[in-house]
């Protein structure tokens, strides 16, 4: 696990404060603004920041992220261009861990090993590959770990206990697990939360971040209480969509609201 991620998780645990991870889609509204958006999230109180690498086929994301990807790809860019902006941000912020989420094909296209090395060089700490389930991911996990990054596998409400345990045991020393919802939309939040609590109890030492379509500070708190932290992206991306100027300020104040709820 990267030092940055390790320290941040340890800090959150010692303070008994849930980890707040906030994300944006790279390229929305345009690629060069990415460092400023990440900075705005950190200023609002995000412990970890997430970048979604946009895809033309965001089949497993909800409509907000799908539309955001579509906007981002109106001016297509390569992974190395995205990572150029990450490097620019990393030069100013050496502390905040960065999670990069991508569909597998966007990492395969430049070559998986090359993509992993480039992400690590740019300062990415953890990688979540949306359409790469645990049983298909051994090659990618090896490359990510060899490059010094944290592979972030997913749990879903449909993941049975035996596989959830396998994933969490493998991730307790060198990873963080993301508990996500199903196919882009949450069907039954109460049921999903209940399942999340059951899964977290299987291997309590593994850090679990969850994202159950959180759109308010109260929802963020409810999710974070069920695990070790919350991952909020689509509600933040929604603030980017056609809302005019003062974007950075809007993101910062939304994240501040989440932070306050988590620390209350």
């Amino acid at each position: 696990m990267t030092e940055r991620m390790l320290k941040r998780i340890a800090r959150a645990r010692s303070a008994s404060a849930p980890l707040l991870t906030c994300g944006v889609v790279a390229g929305d509204p345009y690629l060069e603004i990415l460092p400023e958006l990440l900075e705005a999230l950190v200023e609002g109180g995000a412990d970890v920041v997430e970048i979604i690498n946009p895809t033309s086929d965001a089949a497993y994301h909800g409509t907000v992220i799908q539309r955001s990807c579509h906007r981002a790809l109106r001016e297509p860019f390569a992974l190395h261009e995205l990572l150029g902006e990450v490097s620019r941000w990393r030069a100013e912020d050496e502390e905040t861990p960065l999670l990069l989420s991508s569909y597998y094909n966007q990492l395969l296209a430049p070559g998986l090993e090359r993509s992993c090395a480039a992400m690590a060089d740019a300062g990415v700490d953890a990688v979540s590959i949306v359409d790469l389930p645990w049983r298909e991911a051994s090659r990618a996990r090896t490359h990510l770990q060899d490059a010094g990054m944290v592979p972030m596998p997913a749990l879903a409400p449909t993941t049975p206990d035996d596989r959830a345990e396998e994933i969490m045991l493998a991730s307790q020393e060198a990873g963080v697990v993301w508990a996500g919802h199903v196919g882009g939309e949450v069907n039954d939040r109460a049921q999903a939360l209940e399942r999340l609590i059951e899964q977290c109890a299987l291997v309590p030492s593994t850090p679990v971040l969850a994202s159950l379509h959180v759109s308010t500070p109260a929802e963020a708190r409810a999710v974070a209480m069920a695990c070790h932290g919350v991952l909020v992206t689509s509600s933040i991306v929604w603030l980017v969509e056609g809302k005019g100027a003062d974007l950075e300020q809007r993101l910062t104040s939304f994240v501040e609201g989440l932070r306050e709820a988590l620390d209350a």
């Binding site: 086929d57 297509p76 990492l107 389930p133 879903a156 993941t159």
Partner: protein, 399 residues
């Protein structure tokens, strides 16, 4: 049988192709379908029921028709058609739809959820679902709905719940994604019934297994006629129909297998030739050939034939292409339309534009072969839905 020999390693893999690349949330539901599928095909009573329905409802066996006048006109080889256009509903999709409906009933599901582009599979699933008392939900892009009014009317007639999906192109890419999201929202009642080979395991092997019956039946028919085909030609969209036709002949050294993809509009650079112009990658849950740019973003496929309008192709085709066992080529829109007109004029048959792609390649080949040689073309469906695109004044009327 032969599929087992040409597939390597794990189930759902053809060499390095195939697999189950999905969100974690879908792994277990797909695993459950795989289990039910494996059990169903090992259950003699299930298989017997399926074959009974193929016989009494779908209309199997479908004929093998010789095109005598076309043969005389073009000289050279003998031309034969495997007539899946004569299946109930007018396409090979009826075979698969019945299987999905039986599997859904076995799993105690009450809804079939699928997607369609040409409308053929939507009609087939609507029909199969109605016959077993299952609700049928079909997802279709607005562009496809606009282009296939007769199939849309048929689906409505059959009681299908049609979901329009906003997409600025033909094809099942977005409607397929929406169908899967609808499926996963209620796993207790929904069964995902797709005809796309570009799907995570178990779908490519399930579709291949079911449609293998076409090739196996053809093999028996050819043996009775004492014909050893020199060429077997089939249209390839995601490739389900072609896989069903080819698989029984993969081990036959004598027979050259040819898959025809959509060449579209060559001058405009619009096509759906993923095996000739695409690269390998993960698309819609499987590792195979796909039309993509250098950054791994999908490129928009195009064909006048909705069923061929696919950015990706099934993993078995990527494997066969790598092995060189099947030759893949393209036929463009204009050539396909010409072939559809030619067979209507000469033999009195109305075939779909998908099938006309394969026929066009055969018509080019025939004069170059000897009179004792045989070409077999797979006709995937009938073409009444395509008349607005085939008739000589079609372009004028459309504008």
């Amino acid at each position: 049988m032969s599929q087992q020999q040409t597939r390597s390693r794990a189930p759902g893999r053809w060499g390095r192709f195939g697999g189950r690349y999905t969100a974690e949330a879908l792994w277990e539901p797909l695993e459950e379908i795989a289990r039910y599928f494996d059990e169903a095909i090992a259950d003699e009573s299930f298989v017997a029921h399926f074959h009974r329905l193929l016989d009494r409802r779908v209309g199997r066996p479908t004929p093998l028709s010789q095109m005598v006048r076309l043969g005389e006109q073009l000289g050279g080889a003998n031309l034969w058609l495997k007539r899946e256009d004569l299946c109930q509903g007018g396409s090979f999709c009826a075979n698969l739809a019945i299987f999905h409906a039986l599997l859904a009933a076995r799993m105690d599901r009450t809804r079939l959820v699928g997607e369609t582009s040409s409308g053929d599979f939507g009609v087939a699933l609507g029909s199969a679902g109605a016959s077993l008392g299952l609700e049928v939900h079909i997802f279709m892009s607005r562009e496809d709905i606009q282009n296939e009014p007769s199939r849309v009317a048929q689906m409505r007639h059959l009681g299908v719940v049609l979901h329009a999906v906003d997409a600025n192109a033909r094809g099942r890419r977005l409607s397929g994604a929406e169908a899967m999201r609808f499926w996963i929202a209620d796993l207790r009642h929904n069964h995902y019934a797709t005809s796309m080979l570009t799907r995570p395991d178990p779908y490519p092997r399930m579709i291949g297994h079911v449609l293998d019956l076409i090739g196996a039946e053809l093999r028996v028919q050819l043996r009775r006629l004492e014909i050893l085909p020199d060429y077997i030609i089939a249209p390839v969209g995601t490739g389900g129909f072609a896989a069903g036709l080819f698989d029984a002949f993969v081990e036959d050294e004598h027979t050259q297998l040819v898959g025809v993809q959509a060449g579209g509009e060559p001058q405009a650079g619009r096509h759906a030739a993923s095996l000739l112009s695409g690269g390998v990658g993960v698309f819609q849950g499987t590792f195979s050939n796909v039309l993509q740019d250098a950054n791994g973003q999908l490129l928009k496929p195009y064909s006048i034939a909705g069923g061929l309008c696919s950015a990706g192709v099934g993993p078995q085709h990527a494997w066969w292409a790598t092995q060189g066992r099947v030759i893949y080529t393209t036929i463009n829109d204009r050539e396909a339309i010409e072939a559809a007109r030619e067979i209507a004029r000469t033999e009195g048959l109305t075939i779909s534009l998908e099938s006309a792609h394969a026929l066009s390649y055969a018509l080019k080949l025939m004069p170059k072969l000897r009179p004792e040689q045989h070409i077999l073309v797979g006709i995937s469906g009938e073409g009444s839905r395509d008349l607005d695109r085939i008739l000589p004044d079609a372009e004028e009327r459309r504008s």
